[in-house]
Amino acid sequence: MTTTVSASPTAETSIGASTAARRALAPRGGRRRRILLRLLALVVLYGLWEVAARTTGNPTFIPSPGAVWHQLVQTSTTHDGVRGYSGHLLIEHLGVSLRRILIGSMIGIAGGVLLGVVMGTVSGFRVVIEPVVTFVRALPPLAYFSLFIIWFGIDETPKLWLLSIAALPPVAVATAAAVHSAPTGLVEAARALGAGRVHVIRDVVLPHALPEIFTGIRIAVGVAYSSVVAAETINGVPGIGGMVRDAQRYSQTDVVILGLFAIGLSGLIIDALLRTAENRLIPWRGQI
């Protein structure tokens, strides 16, 4: 936790013993160690899984890694004239869902930031909107999804709506909270320099809120991800959520696990991208 120029944003932080020298070393030694640790963890997890699968011996309980692998091959190829799962390859299911998640998240994030900023800055607006947002974000999507069908039909629109509404609240709440705690000292500094209301929001409030907004975004994307099955309960094939749901109803646990892996891994990648963007955009982290 020292004030260094070169501290790599991904360098490891360890409170209590970090110095410029340690930091400088971290990126290299750290990366290798990191990869090793992760590989080790993967191997251990794999071992545990294999053992668990063998001891229970019930593929509905815990399908073996081999069975899941087999399903990966099956769902990624055309075999016996059948294309993948339910007529679509795994990658197609995933692609369709990713598209939905990305569009939904994007709408939700844009809406969330907007709502959050307005809620944090326009008090008259907040008084009315904040309870509405709190109310809505408590509602279970499964409960109101039928209404969406009435309003938006059974195609893409209701799914995108559901995902947007799932992604919006974390961003809105995080943004509003961060905007609400904008640092008095810097707001005053900007105003002393002649900044107007909009300038203050753009140049102080938003940059200050950026780390929290990013946290909100990362949570939001996670929530959108975990809502994909709910969104695809209706007319969800092709779609990874629809696939999982279908497999679940037929107790094809191996396909369910495969779907979970596809979801989880792509989620990991997206989160890594978000974190990279975050580190780029917020060099002042820890300096305020």
């Binding site: 509905t60 309980f61 039909g153 059974i154 969800g236 749901r245 107790s251």
Partner: protein, 322 residues
């Protein structure tokens, strides 16, 4: 959670029953506490489930002893990879006019062949789904020639009203609404006559059967009592069913009247469960349902007839239904 299976423990005097919210004698047994009265020293818990799939899951988890479940999930449960150790011990009802394929007025569909290129909604993995595919098969329409959309009944209604669907295979109560603005193409009753019946069954975990045969007898007796009530005093039956389903007695009676409820003496006939000496045609029916699932790539292998017959509980039939 007492997920740990201990249904095989004869000393444990509890019965965990899974029921579903469709009109049947099962709800009468629950509502009139027939089983509780018959087995006063058993502690009986009733748990509502909303699909056969989740009941199968609960059986795998060892969380239930007895369940009301559709024939399609039972076929799945008896097949690999699930191979759930349970026994079919009762036929609760046979789908009749309460499940049907309806075409929306204005969609220009008058018969099943007219569904080509259209959009049809049904809840996947349900008996209705099975019936829809059976109906298409009978009419020589390939599944790939139309779009089948996975929708829960209440969502079918919503999409239907918007005009997003051309037809739907669904059940009561949403079926009532569909019929108001549509024409029935085929009902499950007709399919049943044509050899593709869909049924609601009562199944009992095998280890429970072995540990508590007397309790299973009492349960079968209570179920036939309920069946008899449906035939003999429809109003009283409807009152109980209505109370369980949050429906008015009249509405419940109307729904009951559209289902097919066997007479208790028919259960042991060769058409259904049969007897220990000669298992009934129910086994063939389940095998063909499994074959259908295999064709759909939803199960790995079709169990042979003998295996399925072994999973039909006929001990003491026909007398046990007293």
């Amino acid at each position: 959670g007492d997920g740990a299976a201990s249904g095989g423990d004869p000393g444990r005097k509890t019965i965990r029953i899974a029921y579903q919210a469709f009109p049947s004698g099962d709800l009468i047994v629950k509502n009139q506490r027939l089983l509780e009265d018959a087995l006063p020293d058993y502690q009986i818990t009733w748990t509502k489930f909303d699909s056969g799939a989740s009941i199968n899951t609960a059986f795998v988890a060892g969380s239930v002893d007895i369940a009301a479940i559709g024939s399609s999930p039972v076929a799945r449960g008896l097949s690999a990879p699930l191979n759930i150790p349970y026994q079919v011990a009762f036929v609760l009802d046979v789908a009749g006019d309460n499940e049907a394929l309806v075409a929306r007025n204005g969609a220009g569909v008058t018969d099943i062949t007219g569904l080509r290129g259209k959009k049809v909604g049904t809840p996947f993995a349900s008996t209705a789904h099975y019936s829809l595919l059976a109906a298409l098969d009978r009419a020589g329409v390939k599944e790939s020639e139309l779009t089948i959309v996975d929708l829960e009944p209440q969502d079918i209604l919503a999409a239907w009203t918007r005009g997003d669907l051309d037809a739907a295979y669904s059940w009561l109560p949403s079926l009532d609404e569909l019929r108001k603005t549509g024409t029935v193409l085929i009902t499950s009753r007709e399919l049943a006559t044509a050899g593709k019946p869909t049924l609601d069954l009562g199944v009992v975990a095998t280890d429970f059967v072995e540990a508590h045969p007397a309790a299973v007898d009492a349960w079968r007796k209570a179920q036939s009592q309920a069946l008899n009530l449906i035939h003999d005093d429809p109003a009283a039956a409807a009152k109980s069913v209505g109370a369980e389903l949050n429906l008015s007695p009249e509405e419940a009676q109307r729904q009951l009247s559209q289902g097919v409820f066997l007479k208790s003496e028919d259960l042991a006939s060769p058409e259904w469960l049969g007897t220990s000496a000669a298992k009934g045609k129910l086994a063939d029916n389940l095998v063909s349902a499994a074959q259908f699932l295999k064709d759909q790539q939803k199960i790995d292998a079709v169990p042979d007839l003998a295996t399925v017959q072994a999973a039909i509980y006929t001990v003491g039939l026909p007398d046990a239904l007293g």
